[in-house]
Every structure is written in C-alpha cells, then in structure tokens.
Subunit: 361 residues, 4 copies
C-alpha cells in the first residue's frame, strides 16, 4: 500500500527509480478531446532538467518524454486525449557507472536510506532509488497534462529565498524569472545568490530554499469543506515533494501572529463577483476557492548530500562516517520550481473535475 | 465528491452541522478486539469542549458521545471493537436561538460563507453550518478510537505561541500544559497570555496561534516513499483543520534557511536501532518514520469572527458591513490542541495498518 | 480495512448491527439543491420492511428514518440537500429478547458465523450482527437519496423465480408487482408461489429466488472502459447484497451458449440516437451504457436459517447440531427487490457524477 | 475518472491500446523481498498469447514483458521486489496495417464503438483501441506478480462449456487442460469442440463460453462483511473482463432454485479447522472466505466480430451494414482462461493484504 497514486478524479500514478531503465507516469481520468502531444509536455521537463547550469546537478538527462497511450490523431490531424489512460515514459540515460559500495553498506544521514531499510528490509541504493529527486520528472510530465485540463488557470512559481536570503518583493519582475538560473524574480537577489550558491557548491555544502507559487484564474467554488479541502490537498501535494518540510497557504505562519482585524479580507462589490481588498487567506476559505489568486509557499531543506563526512552507522549497526561523492544539487529547491508548479496544476485539475462531478458546473 | 472521509486503511467519515440535531463520525477498518467504551472517548472530548474558561466560546455543549455500532461485550465482560464500522454520535444541545438574518443575507469576510454559496448555490448559515469548528468534535472522538490502535505511541500537543508571543522552550514543562486554560507548557507565557487573550476577548478581537505536536514511540518504517508519505499525510490532516494556514515537519521553514551541515541528523549506534544526535527532520526521512519523535507545527489564523464591522457584500452583491454577534473563540487555536492530537493519532493509526498490509509486520 | 463504503463520486458508508441501538448510512458527494425530506425516503423503507405478510420474517420494525445532517430548508420553505454529508439513522426497535447461547457457542452452517470468528476472533452473534439482512435497510435509505440524483432514470425490479418456479414473461404486468406479497409481475405465478412459500414457511424450510431489475432512461455514455465498467460496478453492488450468489447483465449465461449472430444487437437510425432492434447486451457495451434499458438478474440463495437441525461444530471444534429458532424469512429474495433497486440507483447516481467529472456533460 | 486501477492494498493500473506502441501495467503496494523476474511472468503471458492455434486470433504477438521498475538484485544475486511500484510493459508488434475506414465511419454492433463515441465524442478505432481484448495481457502480467504474493494459494481455471456444449465433470482431468487448445479438462468435450469451433471459425461466426476457476489454499478469514466482500470483489473483477456477461460464486443461479436444506454446507470437526461436507457457497460466507475452495463461474459472450453483415448506423446516423474483416477469435472465452486466473490472483492478493492490515495476521 505504498500509494504511488495522487488525485481523485484526475489521477496520476508514477513509477521508476533513479538508475532503472526508465521512469514514468500514468494519468487517468483525463477529459477527452484535449490537444496533447509530446511537444506540449517537453518544455516543462526542459525547465526541470538537470545539468543546465553549474548550480544544479551535472547529471545529463535529455528527459525526452514519450506518450505511449491515451491519445489519438483525429480527422483534423490534431492529436487529442481519448479519455483513456495516458502513459508517459522518460528513459534514464546518464546512470553513470559508479561504485555504490559505501552507500550499500552504510546509511547516508538525512537521506531515506535507513528508513527504507527499516520499512522494506531492502533497498535499491543506486542514486537513491525511488527516493531520488529524479522521480519528480514524472510529476512534471503529468503536470503538463493537467495544465491542458485547466486552461482558465495561470500558474507561476519562483524561488523567494535561498539559505535565508530572501527576495525583495518591491523588485518583483515576473519576466526576470526566466533570465537567471535560480527562477528568481528579483535581479538583485539573483546576483547575490550566484555568489552564495557558488560558494556552497565549491565547498560541497548545500542550501535550503523557499518556493512560492500563485495560481490565478481559479474560479470561486473549487475545493470541499473538509478532508478534501483545496488547502489540505495542496499541503498534501507539496509536502509530498522530496526535501519539502513546510507548506503555507496565504499568510501561513504570519497569520498565527496576527489579529482578526489584521488578517481580514474585506469584500467590495465587483463586476465579476466580489472584489477582495486583501488576500491573507491565499484564495481559499473553508477549503473552497474564493476566486482570488491561490498562493502557496513551500520550504525545501538543503539536500543532505554534502562533502563533509558525517557520523552514521552501517547496515550492521557499526559506527562509521559517510560523505556524498559525485554529482549533486547544491540547492535542490531551485529545481523544485517546476515541480511545485506541476503539483499546483495537478491539484487544480483534480478539483475542477471533482467540482463538476458534484455540481454539474 | 466532497470527500468527508479521511484515511486509507483506518478510515473515518464525519457528518453534521453546527445547528443540526447531532454530529458524528463513522470509523471503518478498526482492528477487532480492542477494548473500547464511551468512557475511553469522553475525556478527549472534554478537553476540547467549549465553555470551560472565559478564553473559549461560551457555547455550552456536554459533548456526550454515544457508540451506536461496532463494539460488543465479550464473555470477559469487556466491551471490544468487533472490526465492523464504529458509529459515533454527539448530540447538539446548545444551538442557541438567534436571528441569523444578517448572516443569511451577507457574507462574513474571512468565513466560508461566500465560498459555500459559490460552490453549492446554497448554505446552512446557522452557526457556520458544516464549516463550524464544532465539526472537530467528531475528529476528536474518532481520534480517541485511533489511539486504541497505536498503544505504542504517545502523543502530546501544546500551544507554543499566541498572537506572536511564543513560549520559551527553556521553560517547557509538560505537566504545566493541563494546569492553565491555554494548553501552555510555559507557566510564564501562560501568565502573559491571560492578559493578552483577555484583551482580545474584551475588545471583540481575535488572535492567531501556533500548536506543536510530538509523537514518540513511532517505530521506524511507517509511511511510504511517495504520495502517501507520512509527512504528506500529516500535512493533509493538519491543513484540513478549520483555520489552519501552515504546517511544518521538524524544522520546517527554518530548514530552508539552513545548510546541509547545519540541518544534518547524524546517527550513532544504539541498543535499539540507531541513535540520532539531532532531529531536524522531525522523525521522517523520505516520507518514512525513522524512529525519532515525529514533530509537527501548525499555524492557526485568528478567527474571522470579530466585533469590528468589516466591509462585505450581500448575496445580491450590494456593499454592506458585517460584524459577528454573540459567542465566539477569541483564539481558536487553543481548542485546536486536542484536534491536532486527534489528527496525529488518526494518521499514525492509518499508517500502522498500511505498513503491516504491505510488510506483514 | 473493512470498507463499508460504496461508490466513487456519490459514496455511502453504512454502519450498524442487527441488535445494536440503530443502523444508518452516511451519503457523501450528493449534489446540492435537491429536494429531500424523510418523506422522500420512507416509502422505500416501507417496501423493504419486514413483518408485512406471513411470507417474510415477523420482526416488527417501523424502520423510521431520521435525516441528521446535510439538508437545509431554504427560503422557499423546501428542504434541500446542501452538498455536505447526509447522515441517515434508523433506530432498532424490535430486538426481541432471546437466548443466544446456542449461536454464541456454535456456528450456524451457511451463515457468516464461522467466517467472522476466523477473521476477527470475535463476533456480535445477536441476530447475525453486522451480517444480518437488517443492514440492507441502510442501503435502501441511501438508495432513496440516489434516486433524487437521477430523476431521468426509472428503476423497476421484481421477483422472476422462487425455488426454481419462474414467471412467464407473457404474463408480465408491471402493475401486478405491487398487488401481491412477492413483488411478482405474473399473477398466475404469484398464486403458485403463495402455496410454495407457505409450505416452506410451515415446514421451516427456505427457498432461493431470482430478482430482475431494469433501469430505463439511462443515457448513452455512463460507465468506463475498464475496472469501473458499468457492468462491473453493478456486479459488485449486487454480489455485495446478503445471500446473493450470481449476477447477470443482459442475457448473462445464456449469451455463453449463443452465437455471434444470435447475440447481436443491430442498430437502426432513430430520432434520438440509434434504435437497437435487440438488447442481448443489457444496455451496456464495453462497460459503457448504450442508451438501451440496463438489465440485471440477481440470484438469491435460500436463507440458511432453517428448522432442520444441521451438523456443525462449536467454537471449540466439537461436533454438534444446530437449527434456527425464531423469526426468519422463508424466501429472503422477496425482500431483496427494494435492495436491488436501491443498489441500481446508487451505482447509476455514482456513474452519472463520474461521467460529468470527466466529460463535463 | 475512468478508473483504470483495480484493488485497494495491492493495486494495479493498466494502460494502452490495441494499436499503440505498447501496453502495460503499474503494480503498487506489492510486498518487498519477493523474488520476481521477467521469467516469472512470461509463462502466463504465453498461455494467453494469440496465434498459437487456429482457434484463436491469428495476430502474432510475442508479448514479451519488460520490468521497468520496482525490482532490485540483492547481494544474493536474486532479483526481488523492493516495495516500490512495479512497471510492466509489453510492446505491440503485430499492428497489421489495415484500412480502418469502415470502422472509423460506422459502429460495429455489439462492440463498444457507439458507447465510446457517446461518452467521449471521439475514439481510437484501430483494433478496438482500449476496448480490445489485447488489454487483458496487462492483467495477466499483473496477475503473475499477484501470484508471488499468495504462494499459499493454487489457482486453476478451465473452459467448462462452449456454445452451450458443456463438459462432463465425470471426465474431469486437470492434466488434460494443458493438452488441448481449449483449456478443456474433458478430453471428449475437447474433441467435440474442435469440430464446433472449426465450424464457427470457417463460417465467420463466433461462440460463447463458460470459464470456471477454483482457488484452493485460501485460508478462512479473507474478505470483509460488506462492500468489499470477497464475492463482491470477485464479481467486480470478473465482470470487468471484456465480453463477460455473468458471474456466479459457488452454486450461483442453481442456489436460487434450491432449498435451505439442499443448499446447506454442514461442518464436521477436522484437524485443521472445520471439515465442510459440501461447498454450495463456493468457499465464501458473509463475504469472508471459509477455508473451502473459492469457486467462480464466468460467462463469456460470443465475440461480436463476425463475417455476417449486420445492420448498423454511421457516425452521422445513416443506416448501413458492417461485418468484421480480418483476424478475430471465434471463441474469445478460450483465451479468457488465463485472464480469469489472473483476476482471481489479483483479488486474493489484495484481500490478503487488507486482511493483515486490519487483523495483523
């Protein structure tokens, strides 16, 4: 019951290990008739792809997606979803040959090694196996399909802090996000981060990061009052990403330090539903979208793969030290940006379908 | 598809509105043979019960739980679970007669009123209907059943900050938690909060709060690598509680400002599995428990029910102002403590059953 | 993981035992705004109610349903569903005081007694506990809610054979079904069955029966190609009713003895979609409705509660004999008619919602 | 929400169309540590493989399975399941180039063509797309994994009737099943069927069939009292196979013509739990296994692919005639035998895991 499936009405199941022949996802419940080809998915994978700057792992993966089922070219020559399961496959190419003796015999602190062995008595230790960040490529591919389901929604994510150094929202420029290797909307912060991340990379250290994501165009009414609350589903989705340790909706922990007056989102009449004069709630009230932008903040820990040897134990329980050789991400949160966007898309596509199941709208 | 069910193997479904005849929960998948009577559940409901101090709503509810099914008294005279669904019912008693005209006609800002109408076109406006914090009594009752499933686990929650005023962990005393009306483990903070909350109460304002929860005794191996990760399930559970806007596992957002070295949890040989010399991870790695204490922090917003009139609109879209008359919680996070504990128990009971489904242990 | 929940988008969970204080169901995912009061549900329960003729068990239960949540009286004075969970409760009244010593100590052959003990190590032996046909009252109540979701569909079920004596379809008269205590559409068969069932009743024997059910008005397109096929869901629903041992869609086993030509359902142009000139398929092709009537046949075994002593064993494994004292149904299939109708309604309501989730129609 | 997933604790999701590049399945929740290689799966696919005699379709598919994830070779040199999702892929090889103009423009009666268009507005008409019997190869592959989960169970299926000509149980010889192209345990019947099926094949007709399946070694206690009843799950699984129209557990419809005395399964003390002196119930009481053999009968309709032109309509609603050109199965039930066995294995593996989730055994 490892439940590698996410979603209720729009569901996806991922599979694959870092060093197996391939990874992939099966998307089920997708509405029929949506134009979908590999070219619609590839750009999102390219954004997540490693090895594109010195600030991410140097593993070289083309991450070329293949659609194996669920689409068909109609008489208009356009390939569309048929409503049957969409199987997506990405072959692993750069599984660099390497000696895994250390990792096979001892547990890397902070990694899932010990927990896997405690659960399964056995693990694929090559590159972290199933717990590798490589798995997130499957989510990004599935997320691209989800976007086709919610054309009314625009999703934008960025890195808002690295190693505690935050952007200045006064400098926010969405166009800047694509111009630097950090998905950073603040050109000044990006310049600072270049030095910061370079230093971490050179010293074999790593840094945590915060990713923010906003979805605009979500109509009022998606979500549910209780356990399938839109905010609860988003928390589930985001906390399930590798290395994530915290999730906030709207003001999050800042709301806990506020008063009811300070945290209020007053409403005024608008042409198209109410106008809200604030959005402390992050676009969600009672688990249901209000029509305001849906906002989420996600905390990524620094990856545990560092060059400093750390005390640990072997599989037999003997004391030893271990450090991480080879390629790694100095700030894994950077490549988290396309993953956070994908999970936002996947949750919203699911909620759209759930909403119309119950209400017919 | 409002999904009022939570859990996979150990599942519960809640029902009921603030001003209906009763609320309740159906617990499904409970192991058979566990001693369970109303007396095992009632103390947890009593801890959550409103009206016990001037710092919570003055609604007077006995919150007396009835077990309607799923238990049977065996030949040893002890009532035990039978493995069939356990139906729990709590009658509503103090649905104070009141004029709901205002709330019926206009939307309380920050409340779920507008979102409900946008979704369903219609709502039970009496006391917030299904979105009332009253629903959490059902969770607390179900959580008491969950505790019987995981006798190896001890769960403790407390309020660690109100309105931005945090406890000092140096003063932490678990015994103090039950001695003040704030579930506060720091006697000095409790004294400060008395003035703080009193002020908010008298001025008709409200305050946010942070609740922390620790589960000890969770064996290594519960959880799953991906979408049913233990941390993702906890995030789902906690963010689904009314008024919650943020969730952290272990160091949470602080980890995002840390380095790999600073965030490491080194391991040493121990008699009973590894000894960890730190717990930044909050007892979870790769979505699976490590055997360390499982720690979670939960941000509660200040309730939107305040005496200050706020701009809003009517159902017809006209501008108006609204304030909340009558009884309300000046700091809804206080009564969140037993609810957070219940959700922790519910998630862990579910994970224990999922774990043994897959591994036989 | 006893899974007392049925359905995907329109879901219901039942609870309760034969001799507990009450039984009930929680209906989740119901669309909002549907008129629903207890008066809409009660007639279906009355049709299933025991003790109405000498051909069913003499247990006297008013089976009065209470709606505890999920409805609200709007400004038009009509009570409607709100979209939140609908909790239905039926109190048990006639739990006749009785000595259960025999049943507590030994296993009634053909009943679930031994299997329950093998699974749970423990059982509520009073009146069969959870395995009692009494549970079907919860389904009938939930089914009445489902009918409100699919006003376009008409559902009709009847008994087509008792103890191997089948009706003659040439005599079929729908109006006859309500005129005799057997839900029999053939007046001549009803007359024969009166003698047949009387004889079984007097001799403490029991008889099997076949129930047929037709749903008209189901539009083409409900269902799914694979595991959630409409026919598979119906098979699941019907085989889950107590005492059912066989399910057929359309021609069922007769199709297995036919040829492709004989089993064909040719199509002709019609005003409103195709006209089919036969319905061997029972209105379902490839798991999806075709717009023809959906037809299902359900085999009920004779109840194992008979007066003839049967060899069995005690809980300790000693040989003994047991017969069923007290009230029982000589032909449990008769009261299966409202239950089969309810399960048809529940499956179709679920499929309607699933269909519009995926297609928006 | 097409739900291409089956199972609760041991789950599999299939994908793929008849004429796409490949088909496959993802198996989730599999226990770790089970030896599993492609060689363990291939024999079951070979048994289902088309083109092995003149009595099945002449499509030539090697049906070579690849395991893409979820296994790892441990230090003992044996490849084992890791507990993570097992991705199985079977490439399509013999998608014979063909003119699909007829099928694209008109609906083959009895096939899913019209229903698919009614649901999705669009379909992959090549070889039936997703509704092709080719999909069952994915189930057979997943079923082979399921068998590794339940080594205590032996599963055997056979054809018991073709076109209404049944075997004589007095001639039953399990060894005979593998010796003829019909999975027939009665050598005399196999000889008769050779002529019968040859005639159908030559005349372009088709025949229905009945498949029986017995699982021995199922311990008492698997299943659940209600909606996840073992019999209900089996009915769901079997009715979901292409071309199936009826399912019986134990005596099935014959029980509906019997009396309580005739249908009884008396128990005697045995060394290893009770000895039952009959098995009318097919090894299931109250939805839970009794320890007796679990028996199921499945009715396959004659395939609708026949050479006789049948009246039908075009997509535009015009009257036309259509017959099926090219390769087809004269009796699709024959190749249903490995599929029925696979579904039995999949249901039992799931129930084993569900049982131990709840009971710890």
């Amino acid at each position: 019951m490892s439940f590698n499936t996410f979603g209720h009405a729009f569901r996806f199941t991922t599979w694959g290990e870092s060093h197996g022949p391939a990874i992939g996802a099966v998307v089920d419940g997708c509405p029929p008739g949506l134009p979908l080809s590999e070219a619609d998915i590839q750009p999102f994978l390219d954004a997540r792809r490693p090895g594109q700057s010195r600030f991410t792992t140097q593993r070289q993966e083309p991450d070329a997606v293949k659609i194996l089922s669920g689409v068909f070219e109609g008489q208009d020559g356009i390939q569309r979803t048929t409503g049957t399961p969409i199987s997506l496959m990405i072959e692993n190419v750069d599984q660099r040959s390497k000696d895994y003796g250390d990792v096979a015999k001892a547990y890397r602190p902070g990694h899932a090694d010990y927990a896997y062995d405690a659960k399964y008595g056995f693990r694929d230790y090559r590159g972290g196996g199933r717990s590798s960040a490589r798995e997130t490529a499957s989510r990004v591919a599935a997320g691209a399909v989800a976007r086709a389901v919610i054309p009314e929604v625009q999703i934008l994510a960025w890195v808002s802090a690295i190693g505690g150094d935050a952007i200045d929202m006064a400098n926010f420029d969405a166009a800047e996000i694509g111009r630097n290797p950090f998905f950073c909307p603040d050109a000044q912060a990006a310049a600072r981060w270049e030095a910061l991340v370079d230093q971490a990379r050179k010293s074999g250290s790593s840094l945590g990061a915060v990713v923010e994501c906003v979805a605009t165009g979500v109509p009022a009414g998606w979500g549910a009052p209780l356990y399938a609350k839109l905010d609860a589903e988003l928390a589930h989705a985001m906390m399930g990403i590798n290395a994530v340790k915290g999730v906030e909706i709207g003001d999050g922990f800042a709301a806990a330090a506020n008063t009811g007056e300070g945290n209020a989102d007053p409403m005024r009449p608008g042409n198209d539903g109410p106008l809200f004069t604030a959005n402390h709630a992050g676009g969600i009230a009672g688990g249901i979208s209000t029509g305001q932008p849906v906002t989420v903040r996600v905390a990524f820990k620094p990856t545990s793969s560092i060059l400093t040897p750390m005390p640990t134990i072997t599989r037999e329980g003997e004391a030893t030290e271990l450090f991480t050789k080879g390629r790694h991400d100095p700030c894994v949160g950077i490549r988290g940006v396309p993953v956070v966007e994908a999970m936002m898309a996947l949750v919203l596509a699911d909620q759209k379908l759930l909403h119309r199941a119950q209400t017919g709208r």
